[in-house]
């Protein structure tokens, strides 16, 4: 690996100052499970790594009835998936985050890193999108908040400007009659990258028969995780019946624009989009009814 410096920062302001003074030559280190590999393979360069794992705002997992769930960008997958409140109230997020690597990776890797890495196949991102999560971005020009679906702009590229970093991910507060699910398809039983993934969330009416709103997002079938807004709009106001779910799945399938690669063909990925979207919606509805 190229020679570099390391600093374990103690405060958010220190991170922002270091990013500014190093003018694009510093990178944020969370779990390092992607970053260290990319540095070692010379796919990225850095002169300074800023470790943010000892800064509470970057690592905390906190809930507030008004502002919702705060997932510090450096909070590990293991910490999130073993937080009793998150497990109970955000099972659709845990579905996805729990899929990121084996135990060794779970202990180090962060959801913030999964997001910043901006892989089209990242498992956490479709789940965050269907939960209407947003990114809290800090930099020398202040703080800004953008929806997760606007964060990734190309494979491996995100909207962060020089001098900015992701501080946290905010997920709206728990709602009644809301349910979400994420699932993916991989060629092996475990430890693989998705050929396709689908996340869905629904908010039902009090009778739990009609969908008030829904969101669907796909992974690994476009250059970025794909928010299929039109599928959710189709479902809004509709009954939860099978035909509506199938139509939403068809809309999601039509929105997908996958490539063929070593993991799967374009046609196979298209097929999977419909199947996975249907299953994600069915489970989301089941969870909404149980909520």
């Amino acid at each position: 690996m190229q020679a570099l410096d390391y600093v374990s920062a103690g405060r958010v302001e220190e991170v922002i100052g270091l990013l500014a003074s190093n003018n694009g030559r510093a990178r944020i280190l969370c779990g390092g499970t992607d970053l260290l590999v990319q540095l070692r393979e010379n796919r990225l360069s850095a002169e300074l790594l800023i470790d943010v794992k000892h800064i509470p705002e970057f690592t905390s997992i906190q809930y507030d009835d008004r502002t919702g769930l705060w997932l510090g960008a450096a909070a590990s997958c293991h910490a999130i998936c073993h937080d009793p409140f998150v497990v109970k109230n955000y099972p659709g997020l845990v579905d996805a985050i729990n899929l990121i690597g084996g135990v060794q990776i779970q202990y180090r890797a962060s959801v913030g890193g999964n997001l910043c890495n901006a892989s089209p196949a990242a498992d956490s991102i479709p789940a965050l999108i269907v939960h209407e999560a947003s990114c809290i971005i800090v930099g020398s020009n202040g703080t800004r908040e953008i929806p997760v679906e606007r964060f990734c702009i190309a494979p491996g590229k995100n909207v962060l400007l020089n001098g900015e970093c992701l501080l946290a991910i905010k997920v709206p507060a728990v709602k009644e009659n809301f349910g979400a699910h994420y699932l993916r398809f991989i060629p092996r039983n475990e430890m693989d990258i998705a050929i396709a993934g689908a996340g869905a969330s629904v908010a039902l009416d009090h009778a739990q028969q009609r969908i008030l709103s829904a969101r669907i997002a796909l992974g690994a079938v476009a250059p970025t995780p794909l928010f299929v807004e039109e599928a959710g709009m189709f479902l809004a106001g509709k009954e939860t019946g099978e035909e509506n779910i199938r139509e939403a799945a068809r809309i999601a399938q039509a929105a997908a624009r996958p490539i063929s690669d070593l993991r799967g063909t374009e046609a196979y990925r298209k097929h999977l989009c419909a199947v996975l979207t249907r299953r994600a919606l069915e489970k989301a509805i089941e969870r909404a009814r149980a909520s």
Partner: protein, 160 residues
């Protein structure tokens, strides 16, 4: 050349202090600087688990941790699993079940197995397989490894 950094940590219960470059992985320092060659370099990118160590109670790939990151931490490597009295029950069971062939992956598997039993003394077969999914073995086909861990779990439970 970037400066070297002084790091203090407890490795296998022993306080150690070493100098390293920030770019060096924990695996590299364990093997090259501290002479602890039990952790193996397999893939060096987090896929194979041959370099597993326990870092403050967490199972990690030491190839994906920078040595500077362990300042003030406790690390258990494969060298810290056996005691002066003899092998750890897991090690005994890996031998009696012939849960190895070439042995390259074995330190990583034993460290991973220990991390599992430390927090789940009586895992199901499914839990063992899921936990060990981040470790690769190209010789055994895994069945013997899983049987060894299941067998080692029993006496541990009986002892508590």
């Amino acid at each position: 050349m970037n400066k070297t950094v002084r790091v203090q940590a407890a490795i296998n219960g022993e306080e150690v202090e070493f100098l390293c470059e920030p770019r060096q992985s924990l695996l590299e320092v364990l093997r090259e600087t501290l002479g602890l060659t039990g952790a193996k370099e397999g893939c060096n990118n987090g896929n194979c688990g041959a370099c597993n160590v326990i870092l403050d109670g967490a199972l990690v790939n030491s190839c994906l941790v920078l040595a500077v990151e362990i300042n003030g931490c406790h690390v258990t490597t494969i060298e810290g699993i056996a005691t002066a009295q003899g092998l750890h029950p897991l090690q005994e069971k890996y031998i009696s079940h012939a849960a190895l062939q070439c042995g390259f992956c074995t330190p990583g598997f034993i460290v991973a197995s220990k991390a599992l039993l430390d927090q789940n003394p009586n895992p199901s077969e499914g839990e063992v397989r899921q936990w060990l999914a981040g470790n690769l073995c190209r010789c055994t086909g895994y069945d013997r490894i899983v049987r060894a861990v299941m067998d080692a779990a029993r006496p541990q439970e009986e002892n508590t």
